[in-house]
């Protein structure tokens, strides 16, 4: 195993409500949703209609451009409803689950066709741009991060540490497509995943976003123009491993439910696509005053009470909405209940304190004012975040290329957005830049 790669830049956000390491509930939800929304590059075509019976692993949605790529049902049952938004945009397919779960059996002799037909191909994300992986290309590597560094994220040693068999099987399968790289948490004395074989192990140590696969790739094998890599979450890897062990799709995962507004934060074992209403015990009667996020507080999606657990997420964060006005907030010398990474507040005096953060913006939107260094000190990548963001704002393709748009996804710059005193939506700017690149490069 290689030496620890120590990342000095970054920021751990001390938010309260970290989940206790126990599974408080294990469920098959009454309904599950298959959501094509949020998968960059997928043009969904519906393959089922209301009333159809589906098995776990049956195709539900296909990609219009490449019909081989499909999304499958995570549980068996009956299609209850097709939810559409404006202009009949397909938002979700709701499946009423059976008491008895039945699975489609897949032939796993050919790795690629097994992944495609089981729908697990969509677990792979292709960089640059974070799009659906293209089955016709061979990437220079498949990268998996075996630890999360995001605030309140699931402890993967706890959730998947006992599934080494499935993970190993997954690596063996994927290694037939491209070399697999797994990044371990270097701060642990012994990671359970250090025993994985058939892949290159890397150790990363540092603050968030050290656990982001994009940051890791930029230190292992940065993505240049014309190069392609695939990434995969550890949960996705485990699901692929289970497919090759049993021939069935099994997407069950332990989900960390936490956040300052979460009641008794802990883990829940469930399926992706679980409606947020199933997590009612965690927010109680305060559903109107909280924001329910599928993912972490920095780059998760606010799905609301009627939303679903994201396809790739193993974390739900519940935080209070910050509509309160704070009298003379900015001018008070001490604001011990607010966290700031800046020295002009005094959070640095209380390194162990955890803060009840809410969604308040803490200021008004302004143009970029602070120097590059103010942002790059929380970004452990060899890029200039402000120059990149400004290139995206200007829509200057050439500059975006030069400043490293191939290497980043919005989530990688989340810490920059967090510390920004100008309150700019940097992740949104990067996302729009990536959309522009996709359009121009198509």
């Amino acid at each position: 195993m290689s030496k620890n790669i120590v990342l000095k830049k970054g920021l751990d956000i001390p938010i309260s409500g970290s989940p206790s390491l126990d599974v408080s509930k294990s469920m098959v939800p009454a309904t599950v949703a298959v959501c094509p929304d949020g998968i960059r590059g997928l043009l969904p075509r519906l393959l089922v209609k209301e009333g159809d019976r589906v098995l776990c692993g049956s195709p539900v949605i296909a990609d219009k451009k490449n019909p081989d790529i499909i999304l499958t049902a995570p549980a068996s049952g009956v299609v209850k409803e097709v939810v559409r938004g404006e202009k009949r945009k397909l938002l979700a397919v709701l499946i009423q689950t059976d008491a008895q779960q039945e699975c489609v059996r897949f032939d796993t002799t050919d790795v690629k066709s097994a992944l495609l037909s089981s729908g697990l191909w969509t677990m792979l994300t292709q960089r640059p741009y974070g799009i659906l992986a293209d089955p016709s290309v061979t990437p220079k590597g498949i990268f998996v991060s075996a630890f999360h560094s995001a605030p309140l994220a699931a402890d993967l040693e706890f959730t998947l540490g006992n599934e080494l068999g499935a993970l190993q099987k997954g690596i063996d399968a994927l290694a037939t497509l491209a070399p697999v790289h797994v990044s371990l948490d270097g701060s642990l004395r012994e990671s359970a995943f250090a025993r994985l074989q058939g892949c290159t192990l890397h150790c990363f140590e540092g603050k968030h976003p050290a656990g982001n696969v994009g940051v890791q790739i930029s230190h292992i094998s940065p993505i240049g123009k014309g190069q392609i890599v695939w990434t995969l979450s550890l949960n996705g890897l485990a699901a692929i491993g289970r497919l090759f062990l049993s021939g069935c799709v099994n997407l069950r995962r332990k989900v960390a439910v936490g956040g300052p507004a979460a009641l008794q934060p802990s883990y829940v074992e469930t399926l992706p696509g679980t409606p947020m209403k199933e997590f009612a015990p965690f927010y109680g009667n305060s559903a109107d005053e909280v924001r329910i996020i599928s993912g972490d507080v920095l780059s998760g999606v606010s799905v609301g009470l009627n939303g679903y657990l994201g396809r790739d997420d193993d974390q739900i964060t519940i935080i209070h909405e910050g509509y309160d006005k704070e009298l003379l907030g900015w001018i008070r010398p001490f604001r011990f209940n607010q966290f700031s990474a800046d020295r002009s507040y005094f959070s640095w005096l209380l390194p162990c304190k955890r803060y009840d953060m809410d969604t308040n913006l803490h200021g008004g939107p302004r143009p970029f004012l602070m120097n590059e260094n103010y942002y790059s000190k929380v970004l452990p990548m060899d890029i200039y975040p402000v120059f990149l963001a400004k290139a995206c704002l200007a829509g200057d393709i050439e500059k975006m290329e030069k400043f490293g748009i191939y290497e980043v996804l919005p989530e990688d710059l989340a810490t920059c957005e967090f510390v920004d005193p100008s309150k700019i939506y940097i992740q949104d700017i990067i996302a729009k830049g990536i959309d522009l690149m996709l359009k121009e490069m198509a």
């Binding site: 940065p222 993505i223 240049g224 123009k225 507080v297 920095l298 780059s299 998760g300 964060t317 935080i319 909405e321 910050g322 509509y323 006005k325 704070e326 009298l327 003379l328 907030g329 900015w330 001018i331 604001r335 607010q338 966290f339 700031s340 990474a341 800046d342 020295r343 002009s344 507040y345 953060m357 809410d358 969604t359 308040n360 913006l361 803490h362 200021g363 008004g364 939107p365 302004r366 143009p367 004012l369 602070m370 120097n371 590059e372 260094n373 103010y374 060899d382 200039y384 402000v386 030069k402 400043f403 919005p410 957005e417 967090f418 920004d420 005193p421 100008s422 309150k423 939506y425 992740q427």
Partner: protein, 371 residues
Amino acid sequence: MNKIFEKGGKLYWLHSTVDAFETFLHVPGTVTLKGSHVRDAIDLKRLLILVVIAAAPAALFGMWNVGYQHGLAMGQTGVHILEYFWFGFLKVLPLYLVSYIVGLGIEFASSQIRGEEVSEGYLVSGFFIPLIVPVDIPLWMLALAVAFAVIFGKEVFGGTGMNIWNPALLTRAFLFFSYPNYMSGSDCWIAFKKGETAVADAFTGATPLTLDGPAQYGTGFWDLFIGTVPGSVGETSVIAILLGACLLLWTGIASWKIMCGSIAGALLVGWIGNIAGITDIPFYMQLLYGGFAFGTVFMATDPVTSCQTETGKWIYGVLIGMLCITVRLFNPGYAEGMMLAILLMNTFAPLIDHCVTSVHISRRFKKLNAA
């Protein structure tokens, strides 16, 4: 906010102004819409008020010094802290009123025209402007210069954060080139009441920079370090400026690289001047004269107009220090080089950044191709 100030309301044209006062009183209850759901408690108001606090010692000392210099010119002796301070306070207060009323007035109006929130940038510029002008400058000149700097130095580029030159220095440059009689020489640095003239024998009101060497006139190291010499209101006291520098460096608002670079550059050229026999002033004394300290700590480090990149900050700082002393050594007609050095380097900061990022990009490409 009251409905009449919202879009479609009768007083919508006051929207930005009301919003500015409202957000001054409390942190607004707006929530994040996308991206990062939680945000750092820091905002620009907090950062910029810290710059004002950092400049406060220089301002307070400057006010006392205005009174002290007047006392010297009147032949008084002694320190008279409160009496001198009060004299200086009454002299400087009108400068502040003009600076803020004119500058913020334009800022509020242009924010309203653009439909944006009022930015806090002028809070700092407006605090600096009275500190870098002679205390007896006519108020209408100051008003004109402020209007020029805010409109043509800042608003035409899109407001705070978009400007190329430091607005406070642009104000000073406007005054310097338009009304040189009021900005240099030996008469402008002392505040006089109506009808007064200097009575003390052998008193000179020139700043030490315009004189031939320091020893001759009793402006030794400690006078300059403490700041009991004539000069622009806030620039004289190096020790008060150093107090501010400590706060700026601790909070990280100002770049230590720019400050150190500027000092190194000044020392280098000052030393060359010494060994080449161009000047008798010891090279380390250059750091104490004129606006060098104030410019290095408060003006050169302005994050908007300085270099963005860390390497660039070194280059930018060193060049400011070198240019400042070069102007001093080779241009006896205009002894104060700091303003021009900073404005010139403001102009070239994007070019320096361009060169630094180009080197970075080509290094990255080499790395990518090797990988």
